[in-house]
């Protein structure tokens, strides 16, 4: 009998393209000549700069103060001199305020940093430490972790889900982290578990990473943490789809995971939280994958936040051929870049370089009603209908067809044989519907 792996309805199987880096151990990326550390490292309010040009900063020292509840401080990722505080290109495509540091090569650690045994701390103290360390979700959405760990009292969370699915093609950072740093991840999971008081804890990993499943199972022995092998399918790592696969619960439309008693944290976030608690190291580095046919050698790198993409690519032997598209993140949901002077931020899970011949640009054709977008949509929407209304600027109809439930995974646009930019039109519809809501 074929073993049935847990999954959700819909989704698809893009070529996974992970072979180039899946078996490469994580390397430490050397320091670049200049780091530009953005004050917007997460989706909350940007941090407020608290260092001046000319000042010497130490590794782990706060250079930006948190502003408000949904915000965390930003730290220097090495020691050196602050040479500028100015707008710099951000992977989002905007130009945003950044602190530019010229490393002195000493990598001197800030003296105030110290670890603690998480078991001696109360949930409140754990959240405060996590916030102080600037921990945000490293899966890509960069939501401040302490906020997620502070559900309102009326919403009890019984299930903590750790996301090790890594369903984006090309990306292997989480995979390598699970193989190489399973113990650290388990420590992080225990910290989250204590902060939340969750009864059930489970780790979901796509079954195309058997070595990661094995490593995590070994590390989780006698901890009560379940490790679940999931079907390999995009977007298995999408929050609502992952919760459904692991618990059979559907997050209601417009709701949050806590509405079904669940909370999802990425494996990288768990590892970062573990480092913050055990050694006091704030979030100043992350693991990411530099990959794609346009890079000489694909690698998994441990990278200081603020390292420019050009430096990352140079560490991988440089470009191969002529780059035509540079993407931060994965190919399904990542952001195309204007150039290589953009730095890595907390949400940067990968850098993907594609050449002209990898793009397969083709003109848009008419919808032939093949229904594939409906088959693959994990939210079970009718993408072609919503997109058609969006393009006619009939947003109330787009809303009636549940445009707001789109998770923007891009499966519809990927599968469309007529190359219709379906998810792009739905995103546009969602943006105008929310804008209209705000006005009223």
């Amino acid at each position: 009998m074929i073993k049935q792996y847990k999954t959700f309805r819909g989704g698809l199987h893009p070529p996974d393209c992970k072979a180039g880096s899946a078996h490469k151990a994580i390397e430490d990326c050397p320091l670049p000549e200049e780091l530009s550390i953005h004050l917007s490292q997460h989706i909350g309010v940007p941090a407020e700069v608290c260092v001046a040009v000319g000042e010497r900063v130490l590794k782990g020292q706060a250079i930006g103060r948190a502003r408000g509840m949904v915000s965390v401080p930003v730290h220097a990722s090495t020691s050196g001199e602050v040479v500028a505080v100015e707008p710099r290109p951000h992977p989002s495509g905007k130009t945003l305020e950044a602190v530019v540091i010229r490393p002195d090569g000493i990598d001197e650690r800030h003296g105030a940093l110290s670890g603690a045994d998480y078991r001696s701390l109360s949930p409140e103290q754990l959240r405060e430490r996590i916030r102080g360390a600037g921990i945000v979700g490293l899966g890509g959405a960069t939501f401040p972790t302490h906020v997620k760990l502070s559900p309102p009292p009326e919403k009890s969370i019984d299930t903590l889900i750790i996301n090790g699915a890594e369903c984006e093609p090309y990306l292997t950072g989480d995979h390598r982290l699970m193989v190489e740093a399973a113990a650290g991840i388990v420590l992080g999971i225990n910290i989250f578990r204590r902060a939340l008081g969750a009864r059930r804890v489970c780790v979901g990993i796509e079954n195309n990473k058997p070595d990661a499943v094995l490593a995590m199972r070994q590390a989780c022995r006698e901890t009560g943490i379940e490790v679940v092998a999931l079907a390999t399918k995009y977007p298995q790592g999408a929050e609502k789809q992952l919760i459904y696969a692991m618990t059979g619960r559907e997050v209601p439309s417009g709701g949050l995971p806590m509405d079904v008693g669940a909370l999802v944290q990425n494996v990288g976030t768990a590892e970062a939280a573990a480092a913050a608690l055990s050694s006091g190291r704030p979030l100043i580095e992350r693991v990411l994958t530099v990959t794609g046919p346009g890079v000489a050698e694909a690698k998994n790198l441990r990278v200081r936040i603020g390292t420019p993409l050009s430096h990352l690519i140079a560490c991988c032997g440089g470009l191969k051929g002529v780059p035509a598209k540079i993407i931060v993140g994965g190919p399904m949901m990542g952001t195309a870049q204007l150039g290589l002077d953009v730095p890595a931020v907390c949400g940067t899970s990968g850098v993907l370089v594609l050449r002209e011949e990898d793009l397969a640009v083709r003109p848009e054709g008419p919808c032939i009603r093949c229904g594939r977008c409906l088959q693959v949509c994990p939210a079970r929407l009718a993408p072609t209908t919503i997109a058609a209304y969006a393009r006619l600027d009939r947003m109330s109809e787009a809303r009636a067809f549940n445009a707001m439930d789109c998770i923007e995974c891009g499966s519809c646009a990927y599968i469309c044989p007529s190359a219709i930019p379906l998810v792009q039109s739905i995103r546009h519809a969602k943006a105008s519907i929310s804008a209209k809501r705000k006005k009223h």
Partner: protein
């Protein structure tokens, strides 16, 4: 860096199969049936196929020239319509009949609605039905199959379904011989349209379409299932008057219709349940028209009628959106 970079929103990858490949795959899937048609009916069949396909493509080009729209004949949809229409014509069709049919298919069946993807009815079937009503004599003059090299002159004959209907009308009973020709029906050794005669060749093409994931089981299974069920009920009631389900499956345009016309993406529902409902409608209408209608063959009419119901079916079979209502919570 001096190179120009592409900027677009995600996703940055695309599935390989495009519209042109889908159309081409359906054309490939029809080739076995075309080959059998040429083998059984000889050069006239080849002439009908070539003339029909060519006329369809040329008509599409002319329409788009006149309307000032970009040429799209390369997407293969016009050629596909041509082949499908040819397979729905008698081997003895005169050239003018083929010409009229091809022009009707492209102009009235497709371009007046805005071209590929916008037509509510299957263009080849629109043409076939118009021809059947306008030129009943030419459309029901059937050649007996004369396999290549058998040296026989073309002889006219009846189709098994036609024979059945006239026999039942005249005598109230089925001719005994009619139901014993199963092997001939499977291979195609009977009178009929170019493409409807060989179940084997059509099934081979259908298997290819399943393999390429161009069609799903929803429409074929529900279509065939409902034909078997309804014709089976009648057959059990009175086997001397109503033919067996097997006879229904193997004769007439059923197999061609089920796998190649009813599954036409443009004119069939997009939701899985909608497809199943569509198939059931096609099957029931086919049997009712065959047994009680004025025409021996009901597949074309059944599919066209269900094409008209497609928007309605799509509207009422939309899947429940993730996170809306009826969500079951289980630990």
């Amino acid at each position: 860096m001096d190179q120009k970079l592409y900027i677009s929103s995600s996703p940055h990858l695309r599935a390989k199969q495009d519209t042109e490949q889908i159309m081409r795959a359906v054309i490939y899937a029809l080739l076995p049936a075309c080959a059998v048609a040429v083998y059984l009916f000889g050069l006239p069949a080849l002439r009908v196929l070539a003339l029909c396909t060519l006329t369809c493509v040329l008509t599409e080009v002319c329409c788009q020239k006149l309307m000032g729209r970009p040429f799209t004949w390369r997407d293969g949809s016009a050629a596909l319509t041509g082949i499908l229409l040819a397979l729905n014509l008698p081997p003895s069709s005169p050239w003018w009949l083929v010409l009229i049919g091809a022009v009707i298919a492209i102009v009235i069946g497709k371009q007046v609605f805005g071209g590929l993807g916008h037509n509510p009815f299957n263009p080849a079937l629109v043409a076939r039905v118009v021809l059947l009503i306008s030129f009943p004599v030419q459309m029901t003059t059937w050649s007996a199959p004369t396999p290549w090299g058998s040296g026989l002159d073309v002889v006219t004959t009846a189709t098994p379904l036609g024979e059945m209907q006239s026999a039942v009308m005249l005598t109230g009973e089925l001719p005994a011989a009619l139901q014993q020709n199963t092997l001939n029906y499977v291979l195609g050794n009977m009178g009929g349209c170019l493409g409807e005669v060989s179940a084997l060749a059509l099934l081979l093409g259908a298997a290819f379409l399943f393999w390429k994931r161009i069609i799903t089981w929803h429409i074929p299974l529900s279509f065939i299932g409902s034909v078997v069920l309804l014709s089976g009920i009648f057959w059990l009631i009175d086997p001397s008057r109503y033919p067996s389900p097997l006879f229904h499956l193997l004769t007439g345009g059923l197999i061609l219709g089920v796998f190649f016309m009813a599954t036409d993406m443009v004119t069939s529902p997009v939701t899985p349940w909608g497809m199943a409902l569509f198939g059931v409608g096609c099957g029931l209408l086919t049997v009712l028209i065959r047994l009680f209608g004025g025409y021996p063959e009901g597949v074309s009419f059944a599919i066209l009628l269900m094409n008209a119901a497609t928007p309605l079916i799509d509207r009422y079979t939309r899947p429940r959106v993730f996170g809306h209502g009826a969500a079951k919570a289980q630990a």
